[in-house]
C-alpha cells in the first residue's frame, strides 16, 4: 500500500508498504531516515520515539497505515521543530533531502556541535556529555524536548517520569539528567 503523511513539516509518501509494517520501518527503510533507532521492536526501549501529531510514541508500535494523513516529527527534524516553535511562523519544516543529509557536525567539530544547527536539547546533550554510544540518544532527545515544551521548569522527578520509557545502557542516566536540567535552565534564560 501507499502511505501519505507529513514528516518533519513536509508532506511525504511511502510506496510498497507492507500492511503489517511499523512506522519505524517506513521511516528508516523507505524514507531513509535512520535517526529513529530500532532496538527492541516491542515498546520497551524508547529508542524509536517520534512525535505523532505532537505526542511522543514508540514508532515501532504504530502501524504504517495508521499514520496516513498525520504528522510525524523525527529526531532529524528536531532542530527545525524547536526553531519553529520559538519563531512561530509555521513556514519552516525540513525537506526529506535535508533530513536525510542531517548530521550532527558536518565539516566541523564533532565534539562541540559547532557548524550545524542543533536544537537546544541536542546542544545540551553534547555539552553535558550525555551521549556515549548514542543509540538511545534520538529517542531521549524527542522525549525530553516534548517534556520541556509543556513543562519548562521540570523537577528531577518530572524528568525521570518523562524519560522512564527510554533505556540507556551506557550512561547511568546521570549525565542525561544533567543535560535536561541544562536545557531547561538555558530555556529559562532565553539562551
Amino acid at each position: 500500500m501507499r502511505v501519505h503523511f507529513t514528516v518533519n513539516g513536509r508532506p511525504q509518501e511511502a510506496d510498497d508498504v507492507w500492511e503489517g509494517e511499523s512506522l519505524l520501518y517506513v521511516l528508516r527503510e523507505r524514507l531513509g531516515l535512520p535517526g529513529s533507532k530500532n532496538a527492541c521492536e516491542q515498546g520497551e526501549c524508547g529508542s524509536c520515539t517520534v512525535r505523532l501529531d505532537g505526542v511522543p510514541v514508540c514508532s515501532c508500535l504504530v502501524a504504517a497505515g495508521q499514520v496516513e494523513g498525520r504528522e510525524v516529527v523525527t529526531v532529524e527534524g528536531l532542530a527545525d521543530y524547536a526553531k519553529e516553535r520559538s519563531c512561530g511562523t509555521g513556514a519552516c519544516g525540513t525537506t526529506l533531502q535535508d533530513a536525510q543529509q542531517w548530521q550532527a557536525k558536518p565539516a566541523s567539530d564533532s565534539q562541540t556541535g559547532e557548524g550545524t544547527e542543533l536544537s537546544p536539547i541536542q546542544q545540551a546533550f553534547i555539552d553535558a556529555g550525555a551521549v556515549q554510544c548514542g543509540f538511545c540518544t534520538p529517542g531521549l532527545l524527542v522525549a525530553a524536548d516534548e517534556m520541556l515544551e509543556h513543562n519548562p521548569n521540570p523537577s528531577d522527578a518530572d524528568i525521570r517520569e518523562a524519560l522512564s520509557g527510554n533505556l540507556c545502557r551506557c550512561t547511568g542516566y546521570e549525565k542525561i539528567m544533567d543535560a535536561v536540567r541544562l536545557a531547561a535552565a538555558r530555556q529559562a534564560e532565553g539562551v
Partner: protein
C-alpha cells in the same frame, strides 16, 4: 494482509461483520508487538484510529462512558476525580510513550490477567459496551467479561465502543507489585474501591488467577463486618483482626501460577499484603473526608 481504515464507527462495524477474523488495532501496543515478532499474521488489520468518538468520554450522573480508545494519559490527566482507581492503575502502565497510545479498549481486547485496567474496573464496577452491525449494542457486566486466559466475552463480529464505569462515590486505591516502577508487567496487582453510598467495598485482583477476578468472599466478609461494627457511621479505624481476615480471604481468592515473574505462593502472599494496605489507605481517606465534612458542618 489487508489494512482496513474505516472512517466511522458504522463503517468499522460493517467491516468487522464482513471480516470477523479482522484484528482491530487501536494503540497497537499489543497488536504491533505480536506482528513485529511474527506471532500473529492477521488477514486483516482494522484500524480504529480514525474514529474520533472512540477517544472521547462523557461524564454522566452516575457513570463515565469511556470511549474504547481514550489513552491512559488522558485518563490520568482528565478523569482522576471521577475514576481515581483507574487513573492510578493507568499511571502504572509501561511508560509515557505507551500510555499515550494504549487504552482500556485494547486492554479489554487482550484480556491478559496482568492488564492493569481490569482490577480497577472490577473494583469500581463497570459494563463493557459491545456492538455489532447485526445485533446492535449490548452491555456486558465486567464480572462476566473475562472468560479465560486472554479470552473475553466478545463475539467475532463485535467491537468495544466504550466502557461504562461507575463514578467514584468514595476513595479508591490501586497497588501493583513489580521489580521497578516503570515498564513493569504486574507480578500481581490489587484494586479496591469503597462505595459509601451502598456501604460496600469492591475488589479486583490482577495476575493471580487465569482471569482478573474479584475477591467476593473477602468482600462479603468485610461488608458484613463493617455493617455490624457500624464503621460506616462511626468512622472508626478498621479493627486489625478484620483487616487481617480480609487480607487472608483475598489471598484465598487467588489461583496463581509459578512463572518467570513470581511464584504462586509469593503472589498469594503479596495479594494479601496489598489487600490490607489498600484497605487501610482507602479507609483512612474515607475517615479523613468524614472528619472534614463533620468539621465543616
Amino acid at each position: 494482509m489487508d489494512f482496513l481504515r474505516p472512517a466511522s464507527w458504522e463503517e468499522a462495524l460493517a467491516a468487522k461483520a464482513e471480516h470477523p477474523t479482522a484484528v482491530p488495532i487501536a494503540g497497537g501496543t499489543d497488536v504491533m508487538v505480536e506482528i513485529n515478532f511474527d506471532h500473529r499474521r492477521p488477514e486483516y488489520l482494522l484500524d480504529l484510529n480514525r474514529i474520533g468518538d472512540l477517544a472521547e468520554w462523557e461524564v454522566g450522573e452516575d457513570t463515565v462512558r469511556l470511549g474504547a480508545s481514550v489513552s491512559y494519559t488522558r485518563i490520568m490527566q482528565d478523569l482522576r476525580a471521577e475514576l481515581p482507581g483507574l487513573a492510578l492503575a493507568s499511571h502504572t502502565v509501561a511508560s509515557p510513550q505507551i500510555r499515550n497510545r494504549g487504552g482500556v479498549g485494547g486492554n479489554l481486547g487482550t484480556a491478559s490477567p496482568a492488564g492493569d485496567a481490569h482490577p480497577a474496573l472490577l473494583a469500581a464496577g463497570a459494563q463493557v459496551e459491545a456492538e455489532s452491525a447485526a445485533r446492535g449494542t449490548r452491555l456486558i457486566p465486567i464480572d462476566e467479561f473475562y472468560t479465560g486466559v486472554k479470552r473475553n466475552a466478545l463475539q467475532p463480529d463485535e467491537l468495544i465502543r466504550a466502557v461504562h464505569i461507575k463514578k467514584a462515590d468514595g476513595p479508591q486505591q490501586y497497588s501493583k507489585v513489580g521489580t521497578r516502577n516503570a515498564m513493569v508487567i504486574a507480578v500481581c496487582a490489587f484494586g479496591l474501591a469503597l462505595h459509601p453510598q451502598t456501604r460496600t467495598v469492591r475488589t479486583g485482583i490482577g495476575s493471580a488467577a487465569p482471569t482478573p477476578v474479584r475477591a467476593k468472599t473477602a468482600e462479603d466478609f468485610l461488608n458484613a463486618a463493617l455493617e455490624e461494627g457500624g464503621f460506616w457511621d462511626n468512622g472508626k479505624i478498621i479493627t486489625p483482626s478484620v483487616a487481617k481476615q480480609f487480607a487472608e480471604l483475598c489471598s484465598g481468592a487467588c489461583n496463581p501460577i509459578d512463572d518467570v515473574r513470581g511464584t504462586a505462593s509469593y503472589r498469594r502472599h503479596a495479594v494479601g499484603v496489598m489487600a490490607r494496605r489498600t484497605l487501610t489507605w482507602a479507609w483512612e481517606s474515607y475517615r479523613g473526608a468524614r472528619r472534614a465534612s463533620e468539621g465543616a458542618a
